[in-house]
């Protein structure tokens, strides 16, 4: 079952059978009808881009709800990020000088950074951001966080490996 035709038949069948159900599931779970259609579409899109998954999925509904659940979490997180970004923008007088392009670009970068760092422990992320965004030296960060220099080095290594993996390897 590895030909493209077979896979697109498989996809269509899956879609026909489960799409409406998924929309209702999402609407119910999120108490929200407005976004259920879009989220369901996005969920199926994930499958469309990975034909090899058809053979691996034991239970379509379990897989669909897992992916949909993750998309919901991502969506919530992105919206919270955007809201916080706007809050800070509003309150910073220097932000008035950012052009709309720059404002948008920064938000987009923050979304990417947030995704890249999502797998880190809190302290790893904190250390990494203090070095990268606050411009502190490893020694200064170690001092402020009250850990050893070698701990900071470990956190940085983990963070950079994480970023690398998410950037250069196509993992689902």
């Amino acid at each position: 079952m590895t030909s493209t035709t077979a896979n697109s038949v498989g996809f269509n069948a899956l879609y026909q059978e489960h799409h409406e159900w998924l929309v209702r599931w999402i609407a119910r779970r999120t108490y929200n009808k407005d976004n259920a259609q879009d989220l369901a579409q996005d969920t199926f899109m994930r499958l469309l881009n990975k034909p090899s998954l058809y053979n691996e999925i034991q239970s379509p509904r379990a897989w669909l709800t897992k992916v949909a659940g993750n998309l919901v979490t991502d969506n919530i997180r992105r919206n919270v990020l955007e809201e916080n970004y706007l809050l800070f923008l509003e309150s910073m007088p220097e932000a008035a000088y950012f052009s709309p392009e720059e404002q948008l670009q920064l938000l987009s970068l923050l979304e990417q950074i947030d995704k890249l760092l999502s797998g880190l422990r809190a302290i790893e992320k904190t250390a990494f951001l203090m070095v990268r965004l606050d411009g502190l030296s490893y020694k200064e960060v170690a001092k402020q966080l009250k850990v050893s220099l070698s701990s900071i080095e470990k956190y940085m290594a983990k963070a950079m490996l994480e970023c690398y993996t998410l950037t250069y390897c196509d993992i689902e």
Partner: protein, 326 residues
């Protein structure tokens, strides 16, 4: 680490770890001159080492770009987001599901990569206003915001290449057909008034007088004419008639936006051509249909008016960031 790096050259995990280790060595502030020599040797030893190093560098350059001007707001935003997510209960979290701001093509006015050469090669161009040009044979050409054309008018031909944006042609006594180049073919216009919009993946053509035929590079649709009063959407392999009662594709020449029962998201996409800034609407308003005739010289007023009709209002988060919500 899995090995399915389909799109980019896969590097062994060991090499990546080495590159990261070297980076940390150089950053930690403890590197000795012996380390520097060893680092250089490592980097030269294998092209894969170099590639790994470059990739790590590129990643870090992205962060450096953010930190220069915006380190503080970036860090605060990310930190607060973590905090908020952790402290929200499920119900609170679910309230935060909504479409994100830029589902719209609301960034059509942002400079894109193609823009520079389109402007350089243009015979006529506009940026942030519409303009009427008189051509060598006394016919006239309206260009909307952010539009560029190249022309070739001579004794035998009248040739228009709309490289960007949209135009309306108004003919003169000259009865020669006009040719308008599109991405995948040419329009043969036996018409004294017609409108063309050029988008990356499609073109829109509306004929007010006369008729227009399409000559596609792939030979499709050659006998199909667009007659006066008709509006068509053309892609590389389709030609589809659209309802031209919903949106008047020519009213911009009079400085107006004229719409009838148009879905609000489509309306905002059309407005984005004229409005500098981003507009977000609350998801519950997605189904709202806009009707009216609006003056384009004040797009903020348009937002205010539309919001009010939808029983909502416009909130400005920053000067450039508007939200239409209750």
């Amino acid at each position: 680490m899995n090995n399915t790096c389909a799109q980019k050259t896969p590097l062994p995990e060991q090499v990546v770890q080495q590159a990261i280790a070297w980076r940390i060595c150089l950053e930690s502030g403890n590197a000795q001159s012996a380390d520097m020599a060893e680092y250089r040797r490592w980097r030269l030893a294998d092209p894969m080492h170099e590639l790994a190093w470059q990739r790590i560098e590129n990643m870090e350059a992205a962060f450096a770009g953010v930190s220069k001007k915006n380190g503080r707001i970036a860090h605060m935003t990310l930190k607060k987001t973590d905090h908020d997510i952790q402290s929200m209960n499920r119900r609170q979290a679910l309230k935060r599901i909504a479409g994100t701001t830029l589902g719209l093509a609301s960034v059509s006015w942002l400079a894109d990569k193609q823009g520079a050469w389109q402007y350089l090669n243009a015979d006529h161009a506009t940026t942030n206003q519409r303009q009427l040009f008189t051509l060598v044979d006394n016919s006239q050409l309206w260009l909307n915001h952010n539009s560029t054309v190249e022309l070739n008018f001579n004794a035998h031909n009248r040739y228009i290449h709309l490289t960007r944006g949209e135009m309306q042609f108004i003919g003169s006594a000259n009865t020669q057909p006009v040719q308008v180049a599109l991405q995948h073919g040419t329009l043969l216009c036996d018409s004294k008034q017609f409108f063309v919009r050029n988008e990356a993946d499609h073109a829109l053509v509306q004929v007010m007088q006369g008729s227009v035929k399409l000559a596609q590079a792939n030979g499709l649709f050659t006998n199909q004419a667009i007659k006066a009063g008709e509006l068509y959407k053309i892609t590389v392999n389709s030609m589809q008639q659209l309802d031209n009662h919903i949106f008047d594709y020519s009213s911009w020449t009079a400085g107006l936006l004229s719409v009838r029962t148009m879905p609000i998201n489509s309306f905002l996409a059309e407005l984005s051509r004229y409005h500098r800034g981003f507009v977000k609407i609350a998801p519950r308003l997605n189904d709202y249909l806009v009707s009216g005739v609006f003056q384009l010289n004040d797009t903020h007023l348009i937002l205010k008016t539309v919001a009010r009709s939808a029983r909502a209002s416009v909130h400005y988060r920053t000067r450039w960031w508007a939200e239409i919500r209750s």
